[in-house]
């Protein structure tokens, strides 16, 4: 059996303890990266995206928002503001959020802040739809 490492996904409202896993793929700010056991200690900023966890032949995906990964010799902790298990994603809500964000962006608003917020909301919605649709 290949070497495994401990993985925890920690959000402000929930902790997903994945236990020992074989492989993790997380959405870094500059693109997705993979982690195997024995990775060097690192702190990586995460973007909105999909977290994939491989445990033996089982595979789990989460839709996650911004945060960071802390990799130490004891394992990996993903600290993200929200993470939803693929099966728990509310498709209708994600679609609504998508429509709302699109609507917001298509009507020009003068406030740059609002636009930035809508863009992030849009990213989150697209990510949820993508993860759930797989």
């Amino acid at each position: 059996m290949a070497a495994q490492f401990q993985l925890e996904i920690i959000t402000p409202t929930q902790v997903f303890d994945e236990g020992a896993v074989d492989y993790l793929r997380a959405p870094g700010v500059d693109g997705a990266f993979g982690v195997l056991a024995g990775h060097t200690a690192a702190i990586m900023a995460l973007a909105v995206g999909e977290i994939k966890v491989v445990k033996g032949s089982a595979e789990t995906t989460y839709a996650a928002t911004q945060g960071f990964a802390e990799i130490t010799e004891n394992g990996v902790q993903l600290l993200v503001e929200s993470a939803e298990h693929k099966a728990d994603i509310d498709l209708k809500r994600a679609q609504d959020a998508y429509d709302r964000a699109m609507d917001h962006l298509s009507h020009k608003h003068d406030e740059a802040v609002d636009e930035a917020r809508a863009e992030i909301a849009l990213k989150r919605a697209i990510n949820r739809l993508k993860v759930a649709g797989k």
Partner: protein, 285 residues
């Protein structure tokens, strides 16, 4: 002596009030449990973010990050946490009194207020303070996105230069019987130094600076979330305690009225017997 019917009516009224206060106490207790478990769940996340930031900040040039730069604090903002509803003892009164003292020390014209919870908004708005933002009607369905929304609103005004310093005034949850009013320096970001030495040597991806840039908003969000949770837990604890006292007082009052009622009844019976007896004696003669 009050008449029997009046006393009976008062006992009835107090009994129904006692039912209400008892129900409120039970509801507050249930909400308090939920708030406490939320606080428990937020702890690991908050702890790690704080830990990593503490580890990073000494290496970072404060002037490269707007949220870290200390600028001369000409205009100050205060975020005051209160509840939407009353009947929770002196919870709101205490914090508003203290907040007002702190704000008046800075000067009413130099201070902008962000009121979280209706009671604070009503209080400061009525007294002519500059309330730039207020939130209400969310405590019942409190979730993390509220914290994100508030943190972003406070931060964007700070970045726009509307104020140079943000303090948070909230009720810290010590335990069920004890809530402490606390003041917290929210922006620019300062972290208390402690002696926790992190020996781990990390690789930073994409770079130290960018990790910090990504981390600061996360930190501000989770801090805001912590204030919301602590304030909410404190509110429910205060309500629970005061409603318990109210229920007890209603019980005492009912006991006293019962005694009075029985005395009045006795007196009425005695009078009636006297009347009957003297009436009968008058007939015999």
């Amino acid at each position: 002596m009050a008449n029997l019917k009046d006393i009976r009516k008062r006992i009835g009224t107090i009994e129904s009030i006692r039912q209400v206060t008892r129900a409120m106490k039970l509801v507050a207790a249930a909400k308090l449990r939920r708030a406490q478990s939320n606080m428990e769940q937020a702890r690991p996340y908050a702890g790690r973010i704080n830990g990593v930031l503490k580890h990073l900040l000494p290496d970072i040039d404060r002037n490269t990050h707007q949220l870290l730069t200390m600028r001369p604090a000409k205009k100050k903002a205060f975020v005051v946490f209160t509840s939407d509803r009353g009947l929770c003892g002196s919870f709101n009164t205490n914090i508003l009194k203290q907040a007002r003292t702190i704000i008046d020390a800075v000067g009413k014209d130099q201070a902008q207020l962000i009121c979280i919870g209706r009671k604070g908004y009503e209080f400061f708005n009525k007294r002519g303070y500059d309330v730039v933002e207020h939130y209400a009607d969310f405590w019942n369905e409190l979730n993390f996105s509220h914290a994100v929304k508030m943190a972003e609103a406070v931060t964007s005004r700070y970045l726009a230069g509307e104020y140079d310093d943000v303090r948070v005034i909230y009720n810290q949850f010590k335990n069920v019987a004890q809530q402490k009013i606390a003041e917290f320096h929210y922006l620019p970001l300062v972290l208390e130094e402690d002696d926790e030495v992190i020996t781990q040597d990390y690789l930073f991806e994409p770079s130290k600076d960018e990790v910090v840039t990504a981390l600061i908003p996360r930190h501000l969000n989770i801090q805001m979330w912590r204030f919301l949770l602590e304030s909410n837990a404190s509110e429910q604890a205060a309500r629970m305690t005061s409603m318990e006292a109210a229920t007890e007082n209603a019980g005492d009052l009912i006991d006293r009225l019962r005694l009075e009622y029985n005395k009045a009844r006795q007196a009425a019976i005695t009078t009636e017997i006297l009347e009957v007896v003297s009436g009968a004696e008058a007939l015999v003669e």
